[in-house]
């Protein structure tokens, strides 16, 4: 085991963990209010995930067979998991950088709506790519779907990168390369 150094914030501003030398979030009322809001949202998410909140997003009932046969209907429960995943990012980033500025804390939270929006294309991608979700028992499939939505929230940049790869492959492969081929330029030049 390596020694772990607990990072500290020296009096006078610059801590060696954070790049910024500004005021930590807990010294500003807006910062504290932000984190309280995040905490409340997280509690809401946890309650939803445990099944305590009924309604359209209720996780208690999930007809896996229906969704497997209708791949273009998006289960609303996935939004719950993406929501919770993005909040997980907020709190892990906060725990790793506890003296962050209010501005940075706001940035942590900006992923929440992004994650919710990305669920839709992600779901289509995962469900329609053959073999991408290992087709196993309903329970496994359901959990993996929820897991993917969660990870989408937690690591939004992975999803963005993945979409970009897919997009490049699709667009470059289907449209750009043939076009450039017709123009007489090599494909490797174009993909730089």
């Amino acid at each position: 085991m390596r020694e772990v150094e607990l990072r500290r914030d020296r009096a006078g501003g610059a801590s060696d963990s954070a790049v910024e030398s500004g005021a930590a979030w807990y010294t500003e009322r807006l910062g504290v209010a932000l984190v309280v809001v995040y905490a409340l949202l997280a509690c809401l998410g946890v309650l939803a995930v445990v099944g305590a909140i009924e309604g359209a997003f209720f996780v208690g009932r999930f007809d896996a067979r229906y969704y497997r046969t209708n791949p273009f209907r998006i289960p609303p429960q996935l939004l719950v998991y993406a929501f919770v995943g993005s909040l997980t990012h907020v709190f892990t980033a906060l725990a790793a950088d506890p003296d962050a500025e209010t501005r940075t804390v706001l940035r942590f939270g900006s992923r929440v709506p992004v994650a919710l929006l990305l669920v839709f294309p992600a779901y289509v991608l995962f469900v329609s790519l053959p073999g991408h979700v290992p087709a196993t028992a309903d329970l496994e499939w359901t959990r993996q779907l929820a897991g993917m939505a969660f990870l989408l929230g937690l690591f939004v940049e992975h999803a963005v990168g993945g979409f970009r790869t897919v997009g490049e492959a699709l667009i470059l492969g289907r449209i750009v390369r043939p076009m450039l081929g017709r123009l007489g330029r090599s494909a490797t030049d174009a993909s730089e």
């Binding site: 500290r8 725990a95 990168g161």
Partner: protein, 191 residues
Amino acid sequence: MSADDVDAATDDTEVARRSVTDAESPPWYTEPLGVALVASYAGLALLGGFVTAGFAFPSLVSGGAVSVGSETPLAVPPQLFLYAGLGGFAYVFVTLSSNPEADVTTVGHLGLRVPAALLVAIGVFLFASALGVAPTDAGPGAARTLAGSAFLTGLFVEHGLKALRSVSARLYPGDPRDLYGARRGSDDRER
């Protein structure tokens, strides 16, 4: 067993050698905010412990049938949060015990791990089979595996986070290393 043996055992692991020394910042127990913080951690942990022993909210721990079952595949068992929280507090108190002179800021930082622990535990639960921590049978062993892995996730949040990150990178087509932001600064920082 003499005092020397006990000392030797303590000094053996590097956990005991984690040191936070800053001569300028006063130790937490000299400041009322510090004492209040640690007392609240202890209170929450105590409540959690009582729940697990059955002295409070006994319905949470009296059941055995976990929703490893298929009636509610998308629901997360609430006991997960109980044990993840206990794991998080375990880290807090072990660190404080080896670093009794930590200042109030450090105590606050430690506390911030607990909500992160609770949330990361959800991800580890969902990917239990991919990560190899899935319960292999239904029944009491399954419950204990679930609770145990939740506790470990709470204790070592970084392990769970790293594992989840590699699962996530493999989800998307393309080389995982090329994923935008896969190496980005502040999100990757680990304690």
